[in-house]
């Protein structure tokens, strides 16, 4: 059998150390590989299966390099060393410098809604080790928001541990960063989607064909795609199959990201937690939306928009419309809203886009731009 035509599949979660089962390819037109890394799944799909072997090597090399630069969970990573040297400027590699540039750009574009200094807050929330080692909540209902519904009157007892992205001193010319003393930079909000972008580019170059890479549900494409586009099913959990409740769309280029508070939940000191931290409170976001999907020119851009939308809550639809990005938002009760050019969903409510003449405001989005809309939300 041609090894390039071999597809490895990993249905569901595969614990570390176990080799995922190898399943013979049943589909002929795409080359596809699936594996586990970073406690999440990676999907590599090519328009030409002959380049699968080389593309997978390129993707794994790319992800490994990013892991060594950006992982908060590796004591030998560059970002871990920068965090350990908080208060002092540390010289970083070009790769980490690019990741930091993106993280700070995300913070700037979202007026701090996506903040890389939430690392300390994440650790306070109990996310201080690999995700697989955290205690899961007894019931993990994706339709239920842990804070707004399970504990409507529970006071927030977590200390505010977000120092603010502006306190990170990063010099892109000298490639030095100084983390504020006592705080931790976490690149998790932006690095995964950025990794998908880089991996897709590496795969397309290695295989010399169109490539799609999905890292934990963040989808990036590069090169000429299939004639009908790449089919992507958006849903709450990236580990679901394509029959899970959601919508299937096709994209021809760029990226598509989905963020959700319905997944990556754990229990800490008896309280349910999730990984989307609201920098304004230092606690997991209690937003209106359960799941947000956005298509953009890159997966990193799409991911910036989805994460910020979960935190912006009621102000998110107007903000997304001003950005001009197609988006799909699902509320905690399962009601679906689409924004901009997102394709029709039979069970959706469409929120009209802001006219393009107003889209220049996207350059400087306001934190709560639509009081009228926000006033209807809790």
């Amino acid at each position: 059998m041609d090894p390039d035509r071999t597809a490895t599949t990993t249905p569901g979660f595969s614990p570390a150390g176990k080799t995922p089962p190898v399943v013979p390819p049943t589909r002929e037109r795409f080359g596809e590989a699936r594996w586990e890394t970073w406690s999440t799944s990676v999907v590599l799909r090519l328009t030409d299966p002959r380049g699968l072997g080389a593309a997978r090597v390129a993707v794994e090399r790319e992800l490994d390099g990013i892991d060594r630069a950006c992982s908060r969970f590796r004591s030998d990573s560059e970002i871990a060393r920068a965090n350990a040297s908080a208060g002092r400027a540390v010289r970083v590699s070009p790769l980490l410098a690019e990741a930091l540039t993106l993280a700070l750009r995300a913070a700037r574009l979202t007026d701090g809604a996506v903040d890389p200094t939430v690392g300390s807050a994440l650790m306070l929330a109990g996310y201080d080790r690999d995700w697989r080692l955290l205690e899961r909540p007894p019931t993990d209902s994706p339709s239920e928001d842990s804070f707004a519904h399970e504990h409507p009157s529970a006071p927030t007892i977590m200390a505010r541990a977000v120092c603010g992205w502006r306190s990170v001193m990063f010099d892109s010319t000298a490639r030095t960063v100084r983390v504020p003393t006592g705080f931790t930079v976490d690149l998790g909000a932006t690095a995964k989607a950025w990794a998908a972008d880089r991996a897709a580019q590496a795969a397309a170059q290695a295989a010399d064909c169109g490539a799609l890479v999905a890292v934990g549900g963040d989808v990036a494409t590069n090169g000429p795609g299939p004639a009908h586009g790449w089919a992507v099913h958006v849903t709450d959990d990236h580990r679901s199959d394509h029959h899970a409740p959601g919508q299937t769309v096709t994209i021809r280029s760029g990226g598509l990201a989905t963020s959700s508070t319905a997944v990556r939940r754990w229990r800490h000191e008896g309280r349910p937690m999730h990984h989307i931290i609201d920098p304004a409170t230092g606690a997991p976001a209690r937003g209106t939306w359960r799941t947000v999907s956005v298509a953009a020119a890159s997966c990193a851009d799409a991911n910036i928009a989805t994460t910020a939308a979960l935190i912006r809550a009621g102000a998110a639809p107007a903000w997304l419309a001003r950005l001009g990005v197609p988006a799909r938002l699902v509320s905690h009760t399962g009601r679906v809203y689409t924004i901009g050019a997102w394709p029709a969903d039979e069970q959706r409510t469409q929120i009209p886009s802001t006219p393009r003449s107003d889209s220049r405001a996207a350059d400087s989005p306001q934190p709560h731009p639509t009081r009228t809309l926000a006033s209807h939300l809790t």
């Binding site: 037109r29 999440t40 799909r45 010289r91 930091l100 540039t101 700037r108 574009l109 502006r166 990063f170 010099d171 010319t173 100084r178 999905a214 549900g217 089919a231 992507v232 099913h233 709450d236 959990d237 990236h238 199959d241 394509h242 029959h243 919508q247 299937t248 769309v249 096709t250 994209i251 021809r252 760029g254 959700s260 508070t261 997944v263 799941t291 298509a295 910036i304 928009a305 009621g314 639809p317 107007a318 990005v325 197609p326 009760t333 009601r335 679906v336 997102w342 029709a344 039979e346 069970q347 469409q350 929120i351 009209p352 996207a362 639509t370 009228t372 006033s375 209807h376 939300l377 809790t378």
Partner: protein, 150 residues
């Protein structure tokens, strides 16, 4: 004669001491410069002038030099082409109640219609729909990649 010789010796020694002192001063200056450069490279930081630079009213000026590099302030870019509905969903779109003008009042915890964002096509689902049949060529060859929270 002896006195004269002693004077000459003293003058010569003074001249040598002069030269040695000059070299010592020049060397210490050079060494200070070298050490300063080494220290600056090893422990870079921002100058007080840079740190206390006046902030813009928008607050967008922070200490990151990255803010001035190209692309660092680039807004979120929409896709070159918007996503399209998968062909498998086309039949259901046609039969879906997308043009009902149901002025249903939204629950308090969901975005309700407003002047600025009025839902023109509304249905009241409590469950999202699952895709059914795959018919497009791209789906014939492979199932869709799943994008979801992680």
């Amino acid at each position: 004669m002896t006195v004269h010789h002693k004077r000459l010796d003293r003058d010569a020694a003074m001249n040598r001491l002069h030269r040695v002192n000059r070299w010592l001063i020049a060397g210490s200056v050079a060494l200070t410069a070298v050490l300063s450069e080494v220290a600056a490279s090893a422990f870079p930081g921002s100058s007080s002038a840079k740190s206390s630079a006046p902030k813009r009213s928008t607050g967008s000026t922070h200490h990151s030099a990255g803010s001035t590099s190209s692309g660092a302030s680039r807004p979120v870019q929409p896709p070159a082409e918007a996503p399209k509905a998968s062909q498998e969903a086309a039949p259901t779109q046609e039969s879906a109640p997308t043009h009902e003008s149901a002025p249903e009042s939204a629950p308090t915890e969901e975005p309700a219609p407003s002047q600025q964002a009025t839902p023109t096509h509304e249905s009241a689902p409590t469950q999202e729909s699952a895709p059914t049949q795959e018919s497009a060529p791209v789906q014939e060859s492979a199932p869709p990649v799943v994008s979801g929270g992680s």
